[in-house]
Symmetry: D2
Subunit: 152 residues, 4 copies
């Protein structure tokens, strides 16, 4: 299984760097996103559904789901790039599978292939309610590595 | 050109219905989105970039761009469905082409094919600055029509 | 893990039905595809790389890779639909990760979510060479179930 | 409209180079593809539907449609890169809109954004029958430019 691939960070301070970058994203604060976990090639970001995040049926908007899973995939990639590099989303594709609702919505991003210039990730988003988890969205994403351009 | 296809709304009150639905989306208010235009098979939604919408480099977050262009595409589809129907995003794919920044970011959604159950749309997002427009994102989206289930 | 979901076929003759349908696909014979395995919610199809399948660098063409992984995902979905139903690809997204070359190229499709009207699948394509397997492509796909319309 | 963008080839021999590369693709001969047109930022490739290209319902297989539109998009990008460069498909997403059948199936690829490292293209596939054209598929694609690596 692809998911069992092991990745080695190229920069020992990768986790602190993700946390610093996350803190700079105004959009994460806006949607109430929390950075739950960071590891080599993986990142989890969650939020609590609320009215302000909703689409017309009252569920979390597909774009808000996209916001946390795009960041989760991007930071999963960011854990693996050298100290002098940053990352950028080239594109992502998101399937919405079930209403994003419940007590918490959790996005997990994981690296599938880490190339020198491009990193491909997968994302899964689950909704948690009363102890059960439902898969609500599935992502496939391409990230670009910008070398020699660390975040300011 | 596909973009020149003409579409006939199945419900005369299609524009008012889109405006009502838009008003129910908490996420549109959260990101400061404005519904600029609604026509048969098309919809435009814009926002003004600000710190609270940013990713780590200061540009509008890809997920926030996704939020307005997903809604623009979904509402483009919604203009064409019968009175007793609603729409849901099945999936979308978004390419990010340039930093979303400037005075205004405008998402245009347009229907390419309107089937009975599925509607396929395209989206383009432009950034406006000092009178110039830059294409910043490109979307391809699949929308599902739910018949016999008008929005409450 | 999503991949560990268990699915129940709705029609006991699901495997024979996939084999019959596969045999009707002229494109499978054209590319030399072999139906390696069919199970509830999963399907594997492989081919042997040869000059006639190549792109300009001599590797198997992305479209030929798409041909077997699209079919693998579609048949994975087909294992789960009722006897009176058939399936159709709505869309797929394919990332190419490494050159498709070697002794054999194997596409595995697996169902992630089986809805009444739409089924979402994932695909992975590996190249085998000298006992090693390399992930060469990753797919995310949407399949439509057409009820009351069994294949002739 | 994005489609009206004008692109300048970086290499005067761009059209001959596309024709040479096309001739090297075994997969193009296999599916009976014809290179109909090449221009700055655009390429058209067609085929004649036949039994050997079919899926189980008798229409041209989605993967075969993908084969010609992926090449059309890739060659559209290839018209714009320097003499010492080649191109590779990073990923594409294809929506199937109607059965690919009729007298001829034509794939048009066009560049939307030509970056230094990545080129984004769109593809449209039409089926021609008795003088009418039907849009059968829509693609959005990312191409990578490999500099300093001309095709052999």
């Amino acid at each position: 299984m692809t998911g069992q691939a092991r990745f080695e960070p190229a920069f020992a301070g990768y986790a602190a760097r993700v946390r610093e970058s996350f803190a700079k994203q105004g959009a994460m604060a806006l949607v109430g996103a929390v950075l739950d976990a960071v590891g080599p090639g993986g990142c989890s970001i969650s939020l609590v559904p609320r009215e302000a995040l909703s689409q017309q049926h009252g569920y979390v908007h597909a774009g808000i789901v996209a916001t946390i899973v795009d960041s989760a995939g991007g930071y999963a990639a960011y854990t693996l790039v050298p100290e002098d590099s940053t990352v950028l989303t080239v594109e992502f594709k998101l399937n919405l599978l079930a209403p994003a609702t419940g007590e918490r919505v959790v996005a997990d991003g994981s690296v599938v292939k880490a190339g020198r210039t491009l990193v491909v990730t997968r994302g899964e988003v689950h909704a948690e309610r009363a102890g059960t988890r439902t898969l609500v969205a599935l992502m496939q994403q391409t990230i670009m590595v910008l070398r020699g351009r660390a975040e300011a």
